[in-house]
Structure formats: C-alpha cells, structure tokens
C-alpha cells in the first residue's frame, strides 16, 4: 500500500497536465487527445490515489457507518462517472474536478499526519529522557548494566555530567542536579547525602553514590509518562456533543446533496451538469474531519506542554472543569506554608538562650525540637550534655545544663513571673500567630524562642495572581482561627476556615461548591477526600502518593505559582478547543449553503475543486491552531521557560 505522501505525489503529477489544460483552454490550448487524455489521467488517479478512499467508504457503508472517506468517494466517483457518460455522449466533461479534489484532500491529509505526529511527540520526548544504563556497585565492584536490570536497593554511582538512572536517595557525595526536564524547575538543585534524586535528571559537576528506591514503572518519570498518555487519549466532555453531531453528519450531508441536485434540476430548471456540480460541491465541502480532530489535537498539545512545566493534567474532564472554577481552596500546612516549623525570633541573649534550649531539646522528641536544633546548628552553637533530663507533660522539659537547672516550655515552669518586657514581647509574637516557648535557668526566664510554620516564598505572589484572575481564595486548616488568620494576612487570602478536623475537609469543600465550582489544593493523605470532592483537585507533587492519585492536576514542583500556571494553561487549552470547534463548524455551515448554490444568484458559487481545497484548509487550520498552544504566553512564568524547553527538545 502506498503511503499518503506517495499517493499525493502520484495525484499531483497526473493532475498537472489537467491543470495546464484548464488554464490553457481560454487561449485555445488543448491537451493532445482532448477529453480522452483527461479520461486517462483521471482514471489513473482514481485507480491509484483515490482507491483507498473507495475501499474504506465501501467497508464502512457495509457496517452502516459513514465517514469522511464516504464523502470523498461519493463526490469524486459521481464527478468521474458523469464525465465518462458525458465523454461517450459527446458532452462537456469535468474530469479535472475529481482529480483536483483527490489531490487537495491528499495534500491536506499528508500535512495533517505530519502535524499530528509533532503534536503527539510529548510522550516520546519524555520517554527519551530516560538513562540507557547505570553504573551499579555489586559485590564491591562497579558494573555497567542496562536500566531494566536495576533493582530497588542497588547502589548506583553517578559521575559528573551523567544522567541519574532511577529514583533514589544519596548515600555519599554531593552535587548540583538539573531537574528541569522532570520538574520544570530551571535552577539546578543542590543535592547532598540524604537528599532524594529523580531518575532521568542530569548531574552536573559533582559525583555521588545513591541507593535506588524506585525502578521501572514506579519511577516518577514513568508515572508522569503514564499520566500524560492517559490525559492525551482522554476526551473532554465537550467532545461527546461533537461525536453525536459527527455520527449523523455524513448521512445528513448526503441527503442535503441529493436534495440540492433535485431542487436545481427539477424546480429551478438547471442543466443536469450544473445541478450535479452543486451536489458534488456539497458532498466535498462537508467533510467533518476537522470536527473530529479539533478536541484531541488541542488536548495533546496542551497536556504535553504542561507536562514539560512539571504540571500534570490527568484528563480532558479536569481541563474543562478548571475552566469553570470560581473559588480556590488551599490546605494550609505544607501547601501555603513550608510545612516545617522554623525558629523565627529569639528574644534575650541569643547565644545563651539557644544553647540551653538546644541542649535540652537534643534529647526531646517534641516536633518543635527539630526547629530549635536546626537553628542551633546553623548558628554553630555547641550542645552541652544534660543531666537529670525530665519531660514534664503539658509544661516542657527540664534538666541540668552546665551544672545549672535549665528549662524550656511554657509559663508553668516559672517560679518568678515573667518580666514585663518579656511578657510584652511574648504577647506581640503570639499576636503574629507564632508559637512562643520560654527558656529559663533556675526558675527564671532568660529569653524566648518564637517558632512558626512560615509561608512559602511564592505564596503571596501566587495569591495575588489568582485574585487578578478573579478567583476567590480560601484557606482550610485544622489550626486555630488566630494562627490561620495571621498566615492568611501575610499571604493575602480572602477567607479563612479554621478548626476543621481532617475528616471534615471534604465536607467544607462540598459546602463551598454550593455557591460556585471549587478547586482544592493540598498535599497530605488527609487531603485526599477533599481533592476528590472538589471540581478540580490539585495535588502538590511533594505530597503523598495517595494525594497524587486523588488529584486531577498534579504539580511536580512544590511551588504555588504552578497553581496559577496550571489554571491558565487549562483555560487556554479549553478555549483553544472551543476555537477549533468554531473553525471546524464554520467551514461546514457556511460552506454547505454556498456549495449548494444558495447564493448563485449573487454570483457566489463553489466549484468542487475549491470545495476540496476548503476542506483541506479546515483540517489544517485546526491542527495549526492546536500547535500554536505550544507558543502561547503564560504570564510571568515565561521567563524561566527557554531552559526547560531546550532540555526537553
């Protein structure tokens, strides 16, 4: 079987003499052999280039189906057979109509397959990112093995400039890693012992050993590929309406064509040739293939592009829903905030306060202890041994530091009341929603440490951008109203719903849904029900697998700005689908009456050749419009893009 390209070339070569003949006719030029040569050339085109159309049309006819090939076949065969009849009875022939229509349609199909291939290349590009092999340490010796043989628990060496084979955790060495191809983050990330590395990302200067934690289909890249594949083959709900139309479209067009012929010939007294030309034009212009590709191509380009930015949109349904969202709800901890408490203020002699606090906390398991120890480590303060360590429930911890009785905790551990200056500082810090602990020696306070789960750097910018898009922002949290409100004020959130038990998050989202469609952004296991309940669930990628499973959109990076980008991109893609459908329909709805000769009185008619060209153009404009999604601007995110794009291309 000849490829579409070869069929097009064949049709082009054989229709060129016909073109010369048509152009030359007014100047008295004729092909040698006249109408018989036209018959020969066109017969060759019908037998070779057009044959597959006829075959497919017949096969679907037997199944009680009709498709675009049905229209092409009926249109060209009608023109061809009539011309053969005209040739034998010495009337005017129009073989060139059939030949040109076939040529144009094949040109359209050829360009379309090429463009469709480039639209669907995102998945292949992602798969190509994978490393081909890995240097694994086995029995104390390093061996190079194919990627497929790497197992969980293998220790893998990564040299400068090498690709990281699979997901894992660094056990020795450090380096900076370019993760742009997977996360979309254009800045290289510093990785040291204990940090997680992602398969398919690129190591730069350093060299390190890491232990494989996920291989094969479990790696982040494999999961991204799977998700993008599913999204690209999914259908947006809008497509269902289109499908229904497409199903009845072709038979209706055939009926319209027959009616056109009958009306012109029987009622308007046109000649059989004129009536037939109108009918053939109707059949050709009406090809609904632009309609069929309007949604899938836009979806492919849109989801492919977002995947490059580290935003995974699961399917067309999510895309359409994202377009209607009016309210966006955020989980607080880990989504708006860093998720890890940090020491923000120290009141008193920082050195003494921190040394006492850190020494006592070194033995404690309190969640806030980690924040204090991290601060002490950063300030290079030595931790002293503690004797008589004691954790007092509901108060704090006590112990002997450097021979003195020290404590860290709340006011209940004090023997003398807090000095007015410290009490004022404590009230101020608490007002700013910080957790304040008192550090003291011998029953007397020597200072305060304020700890807070601070908002991420990008939170405030993201909220401002969302508000600019006309969205209402809501924060949902289990924390108390005061703490929640303080964070909300810092980042600029419209509404706070505090004191929500983890199990009630979904109910809170459902309540908000009563007024307008809601998107929910979260990362924890306890966010999963809310992610599912919301019209659009956006899971932060640093979150748990369950959250990722429940979200309709997954953000690989832990950056709230991606929420803005995701919504923008979803809107742009959906608008593109609508624009495509408009283009696909406009050709048919405007084209059919013109082709049927409704405006013939005004001198506006469409010959079958022009109809064929118009049909090819309609498919091409739809695919081209989808491909343009790759270059649309997405606001401020655009700056970081070139690096990422290069890494993918």
């Amino acid at each position: 079987m000849m490829s579409v390209r070869n069929r097009f070339i064949f049709a082009l070569v054989f229709s060129l003499p016909l073109l010369v003949n048509m152009v030359g006719m007014p100047f008295g030029f004729m092909l040698p052999g006249g109408a018989w040569s036209q018959f020969g050339l066109t017969s060759a085109i019908m037998a070779v280039a057009a044959w597959p159309f006829l075959q497919s049309a017949w096969a679907s006819f037997r199944h009680h189906h009709a498709n675009m090939d049905t229209l092409v076949a009926i249109g060209t065969v009608t023109a061809y057979l009539y011309s053969v009849y005209a040739l034998l009875t010495k009337r005017a022939v129009f073989f060139e109509s059939a030949a040109f229509v076939i040529t144009f349609i094949l040109l359209g199909q050829y360009l379309e397959t090429r463009m469709k291939a480039s639209a669907s290349s995102a998945v292949e590009k992602l798969v190509d990112l994978q490393a081909k092999d890995a240097e694994v340490i086995r029995h104390g010796q390093s061996v190079r093995i194919p990627l497929a043989e790497v197992q969980v628990g293998d220790v893998i060496r990564v040299r400068p400039g090498q690709k990281i084979a699979v997901d894992g955790e660094i056990i020795e060495g450090s380096s900076t890693v370019d993760e742009s191809m997977v996360t979309g983050e254009s800045m290289p990330v510093l990785k040291k012992t204990g940090d997680k590395v992602i398969g398919a990302t690129m190591n730069s200067q350093g060299s390190f050993l890491f232990k494989a934690s996920k291989v094969g289909d479990d790696t982040l890249l494999a999961q991204i590929v799977e998700m993008v594949k599913k999204a690209q083959t999914s259908h947006a709900p809008i497509q269902k309406t289109v499908d229904k139309i497409a199903d009845i479209f072709v038979p209706v067009v055939l009926i319209a064509a027959i009616a056109t012929f009958a009306i012109w010939y029987v009622f308007l007294g046109a000649s059989a040739v004129t009536a037939l030309l109108f009918a053939v034009s109707v059949v050709i212009i009406a090809c609904p293939c632009a309609l069929g590709i309007a949604t899938p191509t836009a979806l492919m380009v849109g989801t492919g592009r977002s995947a490059k930015l580290g935003i995974l949109i699961k399917n067309g349904e999510v895309l359409e829903a994202a377009n209607t969202v009016k309210t966006i709800v955020f989980d607080k901890t880990g989504t708006i905030t860093e998720g890890q408490p940090k020491v923000t203020d120290i009141v008193g002699d920082a050195q003494a306060v921190l040394q006492n606090a850190a020494s006592l906390e070194a033995a404690s398991e309190h969640p806030l202890a980690a924040a204090v120890l991290a601060k002490a480590k950063a300030a290079k303060i030595a931790i002293e041994p503690v004797r008589d360590f004691q954790a007092v429930a509901g108060q704090g911890v006590t112990g002997q530091v450097k021979g003195q009785a020290a404590f860290i905790g709340n006011a209940k551990l004090l023997t003398t009341p807090l000095a007015p200056k410290l009490a004022q500082a404590m009230a101020d810090l608490q007002q700013a929603a910080k957790t304040v602990v008192i550090v003291g020696v011998a029953g007397q306070a020597i200072g305060l440490i304020a700890i807070q789960d601070a908002p991420k750097a990008s939170s405030a910018t993201a909220m401002a951008a969302l508000k600019q898009q006309g969205l209402r922002t809501v924060m949902l949290t289990g924390d108390n109203q005061r703490v929640a409100q303080a964070v909300a004020d810092q980042v600029g959130i419209d509404e706070v719903i505090a004191d929500v038990l983890p199990g009630d998050k979904a109910a809170a989202v459902a309540k908000l849904q009563q007024t307008a469609p809601v998107a929910f952004v979260g990362d924890g296991i306890n966010d999963a029900p809310a992610l599912t309940t919301a019209d659009v669930g956006i899971a932060m990628g640093s979150g748990t697998d369950i959250a990722i499973e429940s979200g309709g959109i997954v953000l690989v990076k832990n950056d709230l700005m991606d929420v803005v980008t995701a919504l923008t991109l979803a809107k742009k893609t959906f608008n593109r689908i609508r624009l495509n459908l408009f283009w696909a329909f406009i050709y048919n709805t405007l084209g059919i009456p013109v082709a049927a000769g409704v405006f013939a009185a005004l001198g506006l008619v469409l010959s079958p050749e022009l109809a064929g060209l118009g049909m090819a153009l309609s498919s091409l404009s739809v695919v081209a419009s989808s491909l343009l999604l790759n270059t649309t601007k997405l606001g401020q995110r655009q700056k970081g893009l070139p690096v990422t794009q290069k890494a993918i291309a």
Binding site: M1, P52, F53, S56, A59, N67, K230, D243, I255, V266
Partner: protein
C-alpha cells in the same frame, strides 16, 4: 416526465440513506475465549470494528488483537481513552494490546478521530 422520475429517485435515495444509517441494525458481539488462564479476542478493522463489542472476563489477563484491513488513515489508530492506550495499527498486520481486566465496566474504544466506536465489556 424526467423531472418527476428524478424527484422520485431522489426521495427514494434519501429514504434509503435514512433507513441504512439511522435504522436499527444489529451489531456483532463476541466473547473472548479463555485458554490457560489467559483470554484472547480478535477484532478486524475494516470500515469499522467487527465485532463492535467484545466481552472479557474480569481478572483474567486479556489480549486483544486488532487486524486493520482498511487503508483509511481514519482508522490507523485505536484509542482506549480510559486506559491511556493510543496505538498505531499497521495495515494487514495483527497488533496485540494487553488489556487490564482488574476493574469491571464498559470501556469505549474508538479510532483516532473518534468517529468509529467499539465497546469492551469486562464482567
């Protein structure tokens, strides 16, 4: 006289199109054969899918073989939207797709342009 004949012919042809494309016609259904704890079925792609409905048993690994005889580019891909499958079907060559039968339900499949449809029933 010719005019009346043409008119009658046109009306008759329209009637035929309506009956042929919109009338109720039975579609073929096949149940996959289970053999050695796997099941397999073949679908011929020619102007549509025959059979149009394939029934699979839940929990038994399934292989669905597509044989495209149709030269049309319209049918050169088969898409299972719910399963993330979008495969190219080489003409006149059998192409086998492994189907995950863990979840029961009705799954649509369609050509690349979503104009021809088939159905997979897992129960």
């Amino acid at each position: 006289m010719t005019q009346i004949m043409v008119l009658l012919g046109a009306v008759g042809l329209i009637g035929f199109i309506v009956w042929w494309f919109f009338g109720k016609h039975t579609t073929a259904t096949t149940t996959a054969k289970v053999q050695n704890a796997t099941q397999a079925a073949e679908v011929v792609v020619s102007g549509g899918y025959s059979p149009e409905t394939v029934v699979l048993k839940q929990g038994v690994p399934a292989k669905l073989t597509f044989l495209r005889k149709d030269p049309s580019t319209c049918l050169d891909h088969v898409v299972f939207p719910d399963m993330g499958i979008n495969d190219f079907l080489p003409q006149d060559q059998a192409h086998t797709i492994a189907i995950d039968t863990t979840k029961p339900g009705n799954y649509e499949f369609a050509c690349g342009m979503n104009m021809f449809h088939g159905q997979l029933i897992i129960k």
